[in-house]
Amino acid sequence: MSLIPAALATATALGVAGAPAGLVLPQRVRGWVVGVLTAGVGVAGGTAGVAALGGSGWSAEVPGLLPLAGTYLAVDALSGLFMAVAGAVVAAVAVYGIGYVTGHGSHGSHGLGSRGAQAVLPLFALSLLLVPAAASVSTFLLLWELMALTSLLLVLAEHRARPAVRQAGVWYAVMTHLGLVLLLAGLMVYAAQAGGETFAALRAGTTGISPTMRGLVFVLTAVAFTSKAGLVPLHAWLPRAHPEAPSVVSALMSAAMVNLGIYGLVRVGSDLLGGGPAWWWLLVMAMGGLSAVYGILQAAMASDLKRLLAYSTSENMGLVVLGVGAAGLFAHVGNEALAGLALAAALLHVVNHAAFKALLFGAAGSVLRATGERNLDLLGGLRARMPFTAGLFAVGALGAVALPPGNGFISEWLLLQSMIHGLEVPGVTTAIVLPLAVAVIALSAGLAAAVFVKALGVGFFAQPRGEQAAAAKESPLLMLVGMGLLAALCAALALVPGLLGEGLDRTVAAAGHTGTRPVAGGGLRVRLEEVSATLSPLWVLAALVVALGAVMGTVGWATRRRQRRTQARLWDCGGGAPTPRMAYTATSFAEPLQRVFDDMLAPEQDVDVTPVRESAYLVERVEFRNRVPDRIEHRLYQPVLDLLAAAGQSARRLAGGSVHTYLGYGFVGLITLLVVLVVGW
């Protein structure tokens, strides 16, 4: 028996055992048992994924498990990559979750510790691992829906504590099911046209489908998958559900679940449909580019720490989709080498994003648990009170800003390499699109630096600006261990990404770009075979350390002569000592950016001046409000919601409460049906 089925069977057994354990066990041991079982699910699933990345494949057919259709499972390198990522994230977050649920003296951790949430958590983890292993339309849709429903239940875990959770839950439920409807329609059309519902049959039957139907299938599935990945314009659930979910769930959703949208896009678009005309990929690139810029701009404006991270997820997924689209475009013009490189860059960014975003959400959860506060304007001063959390957040932020020596830098560098070398491809489309794509990547990377300087600097440094932040205590050990595992993963990805080289090459081949080996890794270095470029992250780090040491040494040497030092109080213009209210807040940090991007963000500001009652010339109170609404959501969703509400209002007139009218409806309906049957047949 090979490794993959054994690992998958173990993961399934642990996940299924976790559900009753969460339901029946008493509070005292529940968190521990469920946490250990969930971590086991992650380790087993991750092992299967790594084995598949190592080159082994597996497929199976269980006819009796699902009525009518049967269950088909298959694991190749493409599934393996996403399973490995999900497995690693699940394992680390499960360890974190034990500390989150069992630790004492916390703000609002009991929501996740309840029976229902603990029963659902292992199932959600299991579904994250099994979705990439599905190999038929019905199996895929079943697992996809299991993932959507379990995540919805987990988002709602803290609904007793805050009414906003329910609203977020409704948004998430509606949007994820809209996505499911599109996916169902797209895959059903595909299966009907291809004459079979297993992935093998779809792959074989795709050549016989007309280009129009192929285009229809691609657009329907791409919109559904990008909605799951949190891309503009179907992102509205993401900044709502992520902040309101418990942080363990946010980490799983943002680091593992949204990836599966990318998986679906690559699986259906590149592998099953086998690529397509340029307009498919230009559409995908447009969505990706828009999400990257819009997501990071909204993140720059956000004061809510978890909302900021959610929008950053939207940005990173946008970059990934930009790479996937570029890969499709290169494959369309026949340049498989560049297509492989772009896809490898995009997939590496998925891995990197999963590592740092799980870590960042973990640290945000640690802050939220200690202070009960997500608003950056009221945080601050946490570096002294929660030194480990602050350090781990800094590691994650370094990954997210796409600067060396962070792990995000490697994948964005690869993405830029593929785009810049893509200019050699002849054609008007590439000449227009690729420079724009390079600009989008550069702009979002620059803004990401501002976003994470804000999150780290305003959230953790300076003095506490609220009572909750002033009373913060460091989180329990297990939460720190879970985050530490993720930080180690970030460091490994940043320093020796070459170890992933072989696996990435196999993944790219499994996605349909055969005959190319884009990333040749020798452990310590990343060499791009096709475009002759090399990067050695370890040398970059060494150079940075040497440069930093040289600067510090020079400064130290220059100031050494002045031996006499005195401690003096801060110069405060002779007035009182500066209070925390004078400190730089997240809102004030974002204000210059808000001015620069005024046209795009359209912030709403109003000033209310209330005069005293006796005289209009004496002011009693001035109120200033500044809000940056999600403009796309405002323009796109509000008209639809208004229309639905208006339709509902007008339909109320039909149900006036009169029994005679209702009987009349029945009578008219029956007559109409009979007339239709008589005339029609």
Partner: protein, 160 residues
């Protein structure tokens, strides 16, 4: 071009340098090496002395040619130029300002009010003279002192 022409046409308006003032140089002043950064502190003045200080640094008296320069923070300053009787509200800020200056430092009391509370002695808001609050190294009497007297005091500090 208009600016250059204006400079050429105006020429030098500064008065010729008077002879070096009499009187001892404070011992700390030797370390300044002829370059002195000056921070003004209004501890409760009627602003008469401020007008004269401003005049001392205008092109006619031009205290900067002797090495004295006005700065905006006590962290940059060698000399504090204190005017007016010290009011209750300004006593603590004055102490902190002098404490914020790097050593060696000098305090110059400008005007009669700074020396002995002058017209405002005994006022309910007055804490005392400058020397009651911080040690004073040099005094410039007058109500207000003439700009050339202020310049002379600064020249004793710069030694030029």
């Amino acid at each position: 071009m208009g600016l250059l022409r204006k400079i050429r046409d105006t020429g030098q308006v500064a008065e010729p340098a008077p002879p070096r003032p009499e009187g001892g140089v404070p011992p700390q002043a030797r370390e300044f090496g002829g370059s002195v950064q000056v921070r003004c502190v209004d501890a409760g003045s009627c602003n008469g002395c401020e007008i004269e200080i401003a005049a001392a640094f205008n092109p006619v008296y031009d205290a900067e040619r002797y090495g004295a320069r006005l700065v905006a923070s006590p962290r940059h300053a060698d000399v504090a130029l204190v005017t007016g009787p010290v009011t209750r509200n300004m006593a603590e800020p004055l102490r902190r300002t002098v404490a914020a200056m790097p050593e060696p430092r000098l305090v110059v009391a400008v005007g009669d009010c700074a020396i002995n509370c002058g017209e405002f002695a005994g006022g309910y808001g007055v804490e005392g003279a400058v020397s009651d609050v911080v040690p004073v190294d040099l005094a410039v009497p007058g109500c207000p002192p003439r700009p050339d007297e202020i310049v002379a005091a600064l020249r004793r500090v710069t030694g030029r």
